[in-house]
C-alpha cells in the first residue's frame, strides 16, 4: 500500500487544470480587550480554522491554499479561482442575446449545476461546515462548465461571523431563518444553504431577480426577509400564503405558486433549441409532456429548497435524492467517467489502496488520454491563442505547490492587493456600519473595480497572476552558473579522503537489499507506465542539465531498472550554494517539489530514494510527509491514531494544559486555538500509547515540529512522533530518566573531549558541566532552544543521520561560542546559554556536527543505558532458546562474547559491538521491523546459533560515576581495528608486560612521563590516539591527562590489552567496515583468527615478543611472529600489507 498515494495535497485534480489563484481579505475583530482576559485574538482563531479548510478537497470546491495574517487585524485568504462564475455566465448570456428581456438557462444545465452544488454542500456538511454565503457570484465555473464553490469557509472560519464586524452572506441569497441566528450547527443550519440554492436556481431559470428590491437595497431586503420569517411561523406553506407585499418579485412568486413560467413559450422554445443541440429529436407530443414533467419536478425541487417551515426542513444530503436529479444521474455518471472525475480520488486519506487498485490502470489510461488530447488541442491552438502553453508546466502540480512557487517567484498577496489599489489607508474600522460591501452596479464588480478601498470585506477576489510563473521557472532552471548536484552522490557521506569515515557503508544503501526481499506486492503500487506519466516533462529533462557527469538516476529510471547504487562515494566537491538560497530558488524548488511529490506518491517503495535525496535538502512544502517517509511511517496510521483514547481525563492532563499554551507560541499555528486543541490531543494520545513512559515538560516542544508540519493530519504527526522518539530520544521520557540523561550527558562530555580537548578541559575546569545547560538541548533535541524554522533545518539532517548526530550538534553549538567560552568563567559561560542563540548558524552547525560524526568511532558514543540492548544482553546470557519475538528486530550489531571464568576465550565465540547508539539505523526499515516483522536480525541469529554467548567484562556498561569522572571516551576493539595506521597506540602497562606482548606499532609509555613527552607526541601527527592499559590501572586518568594536554581524538581501549588477547573472527566485524575494499585487517586479531582457523585450538597466545627493541623512551613495537603457527597464519592471510610488515619484522 502506498502510504501517501491518495493524499490530496500531492495530487492535482484534472478539473482544476485552468485554475487560477485569488485572495480575499477582510478585517477580523480587534478584541484586544478580551485578550487581556486570555481570549485569543480573532485573527489567530481564524488562522487556525483555515488550516482545516486547507485539508478539504472536493471536485466542486475551490481549494483553500493559505491564510495569511496581515497587519492589524487583517486576514488574507488564498483560494483556487476561476474567472467564470454563474453570475458572469448569466450576464454574458444576456449580452450575447443582446436583449434586455430576461433570459433564463435550460433546466438541463441548471440541473447539472444544482447537483454539483449540492454535492459540494453535502461534502461540507459532512465536515461540519455550512456555507452560509452562497451567492450567484461565488459559484465559479471551470472551462468545462464544472461547478466550483468558492468562499465557503468564511462562515466557518469566523465562528459564524462572530469574529468579524460584517455579516456573512448576501441578504439577497440569505435564508430568512439565517437572519440574526446565533452560531450553532443544527439541522436547520444545514438547510439554510438550500434556500440560497433555491433562490439562485430560480433566478437562473427565470432570468429575473428573486426579490423586487435591488440587490443593494439592504433595508428593503432585510424587511422582506423578516416578513417571510414571520409568515413561515404562522403558515404551513408560505409560498401559497405569500402576498406580493412581502417583496418577492411577482414573476417569481407566481412561478413558484402556479408552476407556470411567465413566459412559457420562451421556455419551450429554448428547451427545444437545447434539445436540437443535443440532437434528441423526438415527437412533439412526447416533447411537451416531458417538458411539463421536467418543469414540475423542477418546481418541486425549488419549493423543497425554499421551504422555511421547520417540520419541512430538509438537508442537502436528502435533497440530492430528489426526483429532479433522477434524470441527471445516468448522464452525470457518464460525464464523470469521460472526463476522469472520479470520486475515489477524493476520499479522505488514508484508505486501503487495494480497493482502488484494479481500476487504476484504466484510470491512468483515461488520464493520459485526456492529457494527450489537451496537448493536441493546445498544439492546434498555437498561434491563435495568446498563451499556447499556459500552465503546461504547472498543471500537474498540486495547487498548493503552484501557490508556493508563485510566492517564491516574488509573489506577495498583500502587495498584490495594494497593486490593485485595494488596501490603501484603512479608516477606523469600528466606525463602519455592519453591512456587507456590495458594489453599486453589476458591471462594476466584474471589472474588479472597487471604489471602497478600505473595505472590511469584499467578496471580489484579488487575482494572483500566474501568467509569468511558468516562464520564470524555466528561466530559473536554465540560469547559468547554478550549483550543480550530481544526482546519485551521497553528499552526506562526503569526507576528506585522508580521513576515516565511519558513516560510509553504514547508511542508506542497505535499504536496497531490503527491497529485494520485502514484499513486492505492496512496493510497486504504480505500474511503470504510471511512473512515467507521472513524471513531469520538464523534470525528466532536468537531471541532464543538473547532473554533472553521472548518468542521471531519476526516479522513474531507478524504479523500472534494477536497484541503483545511490549511496556512492561522493566524487565532487560539496554543495556550495547555501541552503537558504536553495530554498528560495524558484527553479530548484520546482524540481525538488516535482521529484519529491513523485517519490512520495510511490512511498514506501521509494523510501531509499527519499532518504538519499533528503540528505541534500528537503523541500519545505513537503517536509511533513518527507519526514514521515524518512522515519518509515507505514500502514493505516489514521486507524492507529483513532484507536487511542484521547479524551479520558488523566493526571498528566493538568501539566499538558499548563504547557501547551506556552509551547512555541510565536508560531501562528501553535498559537491558534486549533493548534492548542490538536497539541493537547496529540500529547494525550502519546501518554496513552506509551504507558511505560511519562509526559515530561519538553515533550510538547519535541512534538511541535511534527504538529506544525502535519497540522491537518494529527495521525501522521503522531505516527512520526512514535517513530522519532525511540530513535533519537530513547528512554528519555521514562518515568525515571535520570540514569538515561546522565549517561547521555557523560557521553556528550567525552565526545567534546574527543573533538575539542581544549574547550572540554576548560569547561571541566570551570565546572561548566552539561547537566547545567544541556538538558533542554537533548531532551527536546534542540526544539526548546531554537525557533521552529531553525529546528526544521536541524532536524532535516538529524533525521537522515545516525542517532548519535544530536550529540555532535551539541558540540557544534558549543564550538560556535568557542572563543567566548574559553575566555569565560562559570557565570559568563552560563549566561551565554540563557539566551536562545539568536545568531546561531544552523547550516554551519550541522556541517560541523556531521564532519565530527563521520570521523568518530561509533563505539565512543555507545550508551549502555539502553533498555533494549540491555534486554538483548540479558537474553544472550541465557542458554539460547530465544523465541523469535523476544528480540526486537532492530539491533544491528548484536553481540555475543565468549569468556570463561579464567579469562580465556572460546574460539568460536565472536564479539560484536554492542550498538545502542546505532550508526546503522537505516540498514533495515526501522518502522517495519519495529511494528511488523519482529524478525531476529540475521547477525544475531548467526552468532547465537554458534553457541552460548556472554559479554566480555569490558563490554559491560560503566557506571555513570565512572563516566562522569573520565574525560575521554572509550573505544571498542571493533572500531580500534578500523583505525589501523591512523592511530597512535600508547601502551601504558609496565615495561615487562609490554615486552611480553603488545599490539604491533604501539609505543610504551610510563604515565608519569607524559608531561615530558607531550611535545614529541604532538609531532607524530596521528589522527587518533588510543591508550591501552591494564584493567584497574590508571588508563582513564592517563587518557584524561592527554585531553588536558590538548590532544584530540583520544580514547581508551575498552578492555585494554585483554581486548586484544581474545581471538575471534574480527573479519566478520570489519567486513562491514568503513574502509572500502577492506580485505584483511592488519590487526593482530585477524592474524590470530586465521591461526585459530588453522590450528583448530580454542586458545591462542596472540602476542609474543622474543626480541625487544629498546629504543627509549619509546619502544617501537616490533612483532616477530613466532614459529610455525604464525607463519601459517600469515600465509593464510595473504594480504600484501601483512606480508610487507612481516618482511620488515624479519629484517629487524
Amino acid at each position: 500500500m502506498a502510504t501517501f498515494a491518495t493524499c490530496t495535497d500531492l495530487h492535482r485534480h484534472p478539473s482544476t487544470r485552468n485554475a487560477g489563484l485569488a485572495a480575499i481579505s477582510f478585517c477580523a475583530n480587534d478584541n484586544a480587550d478580551d485578550e487581556l482576559q486570555g481570549v485569543p485574538p480573532a485573527t489567530s482563531y481564524i488562522f487556525g480554522q483555515c488550516q482545516f479548510l486547507k485539508s478539504l478537497s472536493h471536485p466542486n470546491l475551490c481549494e483553500y491554499l493559505d491564510a495569511i495574517k496581515g497587519k492589524r487585524d487583517r486576514v488574507f485568504v488564498v483560494q483556487e479561482h476561476y474567472s467564470n462564475s454563474l453570475d458572469l455566465n448569466r450576464i454574458t448570456l444576456e449580452k450575447e442575446q443582446e436583449s434586455t428581456s430576461p433570459r433564463g438557462q435550460s433546466i438541463t444545465r441548471i440541473r447539472k449545476w444544482a447537483a454539483q452544488i449540492i454535492d459540494a454542500l453535502i461534502y461540507l456538511n459532512s465536515h461540519g461546515i455550512v456555507h452560509r454565503a452562497l451567492t450567484i457570484s461565488n459559484i465559479l465555473l471551470t472551462e468545462d462548465d464544472f461547478v466550483k464553490l468558492s468562499n465557503y469557509g468564511l462562515y466557518y472560519m469566523t465562528k459564524g461571523g462572530t469574529l468579524v464586524q460584517f455579516s456573512i452572506g448576501e441578504p439577497h441569497y440569505l435564508s430568512p431563518m439565517a437572519l440574526a441566528q446565533p452560531y450553532t450547527l443544527s439541522l436547520q443550519d444545514y438547510s439554510t444553504d438550500l434556500w440560497s440554492v433555491g433562490v439562485i436556481m430560480t433566478e437562473l431559470f427565470l432570468g429575473v431577480s428573486f426579490w423586487r428590491a435591488d440587490r443593494s437595497d439592504l433595508d428593503e431586503l432585510i424587511a422582506s426577509l423578516f416578513a417571510l420569517r414571520k409568515l413561515s411561523t404562522t403558515s404551513n406553506n408560505w409560498i401559497q400564503d405569500c402576498s406580493e407585499n412581502v417583496g418577492i418579485n411577482p414573476i417569481v412568486l407566481s412561478f413558484l405558486k402556479t408552476g407556470r413560467a411567465p413566459d412559457q413559450d420562451r421556455v419551450k422554445e429554448q428547451e427545444r433549441e437545447q434539445d436540437k443541440r443535443e440532437e434528441q429529436i423526438q415527437e412533439q407530443a412526447d416533447q411537451t409532456s416531458k417538458e411539463e414533467n421536467e418543469l414540475n419536478t423542477f418546481i418541486c425541487f425549488l419549493r423543497a429548497c425554499l421551504s422555511l417551515e421547520a417540520f419541512n426542513s430538509i438537508e442537502p444530503a436528502q435533497i440530492r435524492n430528489h426526483d429532479f436529479f433522477k434524470a441527471l444521474d445516468v448522464l452525470h455518471r457518464e460525464g464523470e467517467q469521460a472526463t476522469g472525475y472520479r470520486s475515489k480520488m477524493w476520499h479522505q486519506k488514508p484508505y486501503i489502496q487495494s480497493t482502488s487498485l484494479p481500476d487504476y490502470e484504466g484510470e491512468v489510461k483515461r488520464l493520459r488520454d485526456a492529457i494527450t488530447q489537451r496537448r493536441l488541442a493546445l498544439n492546434e491552438d498555437k498561434g491563435t491563442k495568446k498563451h499556447p502553453t499556459k500552465n503546461e508546466l504547472l498543471y500537474k502540480l498540486p495547487l498548493s505547490q503552484v501557490f508556493y512557487l508563485w510566492k517564491l517567484a516574488g509573489g506577495d498577496v498583500e502587495a498584490q492587493f495594494r497593486r490593485n489599489g485595494r488596501l490603501v489607508g484603512t479608516p477606523p474600522i469600528q466606525l463602519l456600519p455592519k453591512v456587507v460591501h456590495v458594489a453599486e452596479t453589476k458591471d462594476e464588480r466584474y471589472q474588479h473595480h472597487v471604489r471602497d478601498i478600505a473595505d472590511l470585506f469584499s467578496d471580489v477576489p484579488c487575482i494572483l497572476p500566474l501568467d509569468n510563473l511558468e516562464s520564470e521557472i524555466l528561466k530559473s532552471i536554465h540560469e547559468p552558473n547554478k550549483d550543480q548536484f550530481s544526482w546519485d552522490t551521497d553528499y552526506f557521506l562526503f569526507s576528506d579522503p585522508d580521513e576515516m569515515n565511519f558513516l560510509q557503508g553504514t547508511m542508506g544503501d542497505d535499504k536496497y537489499k531490503d527491497r529485494g526481499t520485502s514484499g513486492k506486492d505492496d512496493d510497486f503500487l504504480y505500474p511503470d507506465s504510471m511512473r512515467f506519466t507521472n513524471m513531469n516533462v520538464a523534470f525528466r529533462k532536468a537531471p541532464a542539465s543538473l547532473s554533472s557527469s553521472t548518468p542521471s538516476n531519476t526516479v522513474g529510471a531507478s524504479a523500472s531498472g534494477g536497484a541503483p547504487s545511490l549511496a556512492q562515494q561522493p566524487n565532487k566537491a560539496r554543495v556550495k550554494v547555501p541552503l537558504a538560497i536553495r530554498e528560495k530558488d524558484l527553479g530548484y524548488q520546482y524540481q525538488r517539489l516535482s521529484m519529491f511529490t513523485d517519490l512520495l506518491l510511490q512511498y514506501p517503495a521509494s523510501r531509499a530514494e527519499i532518504l538519499h535525496h533528503s540528505k541534500i535538502d528537503i523541500p519545505p512544502l513537503l517536509r511533513g510527509k518527507v519526514w514521515a517517509a524518512i522515519l518509515g511511517v507505514v500502514g493505516d496510521y489514521q486507524e492507529v491514531y483513532n484507536g487511542y483514547d484521547k479524551y479520558t481525563e488523566k493526571p498528566t492532563d493538568r501539566q499538558i494544559e499548563l504547557d501547551v499554551p506556552r509551547c512555541h507560541q510565536y508560531n501562528q499555528l501553535m498559537f491558534s486555538p486549533a493548534g492548542h486543541e490538536k497539541m493537547k490531543r496529540l500529547l494525550k494520545c502519546w501518554v496513552k500509547a506509551n504507558e511505560n513512559q511519562a509526559y515530561w515538560q519538553g515533550l510538547d516542544s519535541c512534538c511541535a515540529p511534527f504538529l506544525t508540519l502535519n497540522f491537518n493530519d494529527e495521525a501522521l504527526a503522531f505516527a512520526c512522533i512514535q517513530l522519532f522518539l525511540p530513535k533519537f530520544l530513547k528512554d528519555m521520557f521514562l518515568h525515571d530518566n535520570s540514569q538515561v540523561i546522565h549517561e547521555y550527558l557523560a557521553v556528550f562530555k567525552h565526545l567534546l573531549s574527543y573533538h575539542d580537548p581544549e574547550l572540554s578541559s576548560h569547561l571541566d575546569h570551570i565546572r561548566f558541566i552539561p547537566q547545567l545547560y544541556a538538558i533542554p538541548w537533548f531532551m527536546t533535541l534542540f526544539t526548546h532552544i531554537f525557533p521552529l524554522d531553525k529546528v526544521y533545518h536541524l532536524w532535516d539532517k538529524i533525521l537522515v543521520g545516525p542517532s548519535s548526530l544530536p550529540l555532535f550538534v551539541g558540540i557544534a553549538i558549543l564550538q560556535q561560542f568557542r572563543q567566548q567560552l574559553l575566555r569565560s568563567e562559570f557565570n559568563e559561560a552560563i549566561s551565554i546559554f540563557s539566551e536562545s542563540f539568536p545568531g546561531m548558524d544552523i547550516e554551519k552547525c550541522i556541517e560541523t556536527a556531521l564532519a565530527m560524526c563521520r570521523v568518530t568511532p561509533p563505539s565512543t558514543c555507545w550508551l549502555s543505558y539502553d533498555q533494549e540492548s540491555r534486554e538483548i544482553r540479558e537474553q544472550l546470557h541465557l542458554p539460547i532458546t530465544i523465541s523469535t519475538a523476544a528480540i526486537p528486530g532492530k539491533v544491528v550489531n548484536g553481540e555475543v562474547g565468549g569468556q570463561k571464568p579464567n579469562g580465556k576465550e572460546i574460539s568460536q565465540s565472536s564479539a560484536g559491538p554492542t550498538a545502542p547508539v546505532d550508526h546503522n539505523i537505516y540498514s533495515s526499515s526501522k518502522a517495519s521491523s519495529d511494528h511488523q516483522e519482529l524478525k531476529r536480525p540475521k547477525e544475531i541469529e548467526k552468532r547465537i546459533s554458534g553457541g552460548v554467548g556472554v559479554l566480555h567484562w569490558w563490554e559491560e556498561p560503566l557506571s555513570i560515576e565512572t563516566m562522569d569522572a573520565e574525560l575521554a571516551p572509550r573505544i571498542h576493539r571493533s572500531d580500534f581495528v578500523k583505525l589501523r595506521q591512523q592511530a597512535m597506540v600508547i601502551d601504558i602497562r609496565p615495561e615487562e608486560e609490554f615486552c611480553n606482548g603488545h599490539y604491533p606499532l604501539s609505543i610504551q609509555m610510563v604515565p608519569g612521563q607524559l608531561g615530558l613527552l607531550v611535545h614529541i607526541l604532538g609531532k607524530l601527527k596521528k589522527n587518533y590516539l588510543v591508550v591501552i592499559a591494564n584493567r584497574g590501572d590508571s588508563g582513564p586518568e592517563f587518557a584524561s591527562a592527554l585531553v588536558r594536554h590538548g590532544f584530540s581524538r583520544v580514547a581508551l581501549l575498552m578492555g585494554g590489552i585483554d581486548a586484544l588477547r581474545i581471538t575471534e573472527p574480527v573479519m566478520s566485524l570489519t567486513s562491514n567496515s568503513a574502509i572500502p575494499g577492506n580485505q584483511a585487517s592488519p590487526s593482530l586479531s585477524t592474524v590470530s583468527t586465521a591461526s585459530t582457523a588453522v590450528t583448530g585450538t580454542t586458545t591462542t597466545t596472540i602476542i609474543t615478543t622474543p626480541t625487544i627493541c629498546s629504543c627509549k623512551p619509546f619502544r617501537q613495537a616490533i612483532t616477530v611472529q613466532s614459529k610455525i603457527k604464525d607463519e601459517v597464519a600469515v600465509q593464510k592471510c595473504k594480504t600484501p600489507f601483512t606480508q610487507k610488515k612481516m618482511r620488515t619484522t624479519m629484517a629487524a
Partner: protein
C-alpha cells in the same frame, strides 16, 4: 575549587560586592520564570516557554552606596518529574524563593513541601522567601494572604504577594532577600565579587571514583 576562580564582572565603583546564589522553586506555571524575567529584564511575556532542567540568570542590585549584591539565579523546572534535578541547583544556595500561585490552591502545598525540603537538605543558613505570585488575578484568588502570611511567619520565611505581570513587589522581594542576607557576619567580603558561597553550582566532585577498570 579555589576562590581564585571568581568571576570578576562589573566591579562596583566603591564598596563591596556580595554574590549570592539564589534558587527558585515551586510548582509548574506558578510564574517562577516570569518573576526572574521581570526582575532581571523588567519584561513580561505571556507565552514564555516552560522551563526544562533549569535556567540561569544574574542580576545585581545596589542596597546602598557601599553595598552591591549580585544574585546568581537558578530558575528550575516546576514539573514534579524534574524534582530529582533540584538538589543540584539548591545545593549551596544562599537563598531561595519558593513561589506559589494565588489562584491555585495546590501550589501552596507544593511550596510548603519545597520549604520543608530546603530546610532539611539545603545550607542551614539559607534565607527563604515565599512569593504568592499572580496577585493581579485577584478575582480568581483562592489562597488568602492571611493564610500564607501565617504560614510564612510560622516557618520563618520572608513573604510577598507578587505579580510578575504588573511588577508588583518583585523588586521588593529580591531586595528584602538581599537585606536579610547576613552581610555583616561575613568577616571580609571579597572586594572582587565573592559571596558566601563562591561557586555557582557545586557538584559533588567528591563522589568521583579514581577511575575504574579501564
Amino acid at each position: 575549587m579555589s576562590n581564585s576562580r571568581q568571576t570578576s564582572t562589573q566591579e562596583p565603583p566603591s564598596g563591596k560586592l556580595f554574590q549570592f546564589k539564589l534558587v527558585l522553586l515551586g510548582e509548574s506555571a506558578v510564574g517562577k520564570s516570569s518573576l526572574v524575567l521581570r526582575f532581571v529584564k523588567d519584561q513580561f511575556d505571556d507565552y514564555r516557554e516552560s522551563t526544562i532542567g533549569a535556567a540561569f540568570l544574574t542580576q545585581t542590585i545596589c542596597l546602598d552606596d557601599a553595598t552591591t549584591v549580585k544574585f546568581e539565579i537558578w530558575d528550575t523546572a516546576g514539573q514534579e518529574r524534574y524534582k530529582s534535578l533540584a538538589p543540584m541547583y539548591y545545593r549551596n544556595a544562599n537563598c531561595a524563593v519558593v513561589v506559589y500561585d494565588i489562584t491555585q490552591s495546590s501550589s501552596l502545598d507544593k511550596a510548603k513541601s519545597w520549604v520543608k525540603e530546603l530546610q532539611r537538605q539545603a545550607d542551614p543558613n539559607i534565607v527563604i522567601a515565599l512569593a504568592g505570585n499572580k496577585s493581579d488575578l485577584s478575582a480568581r484568588r483562592v489562597i488568602e494572604t492571611e493564610e500564607a502570611q501565617a504560614y510564612a511567619d510560622e516557618a520563618g520565611l520572608l513573604f510577598f504577594e507578587t505579580s510578575a505581570k504588573t511588577a508588583t513587589n518583585v523588586n521588593e522581594l529580591f531586595t528584602s532577600i538581599a537585606k536579610k542576607m547576613p552581610l555583616d557576619m561575613l568577616a571580609n567580603p571579597r572586594p572582587r565579587g565573592a559571596g558566601l558561597n563562591p561557586r555557582g553550582v557545586d557538584l559533588n566532585r567528591d563522589n568521583r571514583e579514581s577511575g575504574c577498570a579501564c
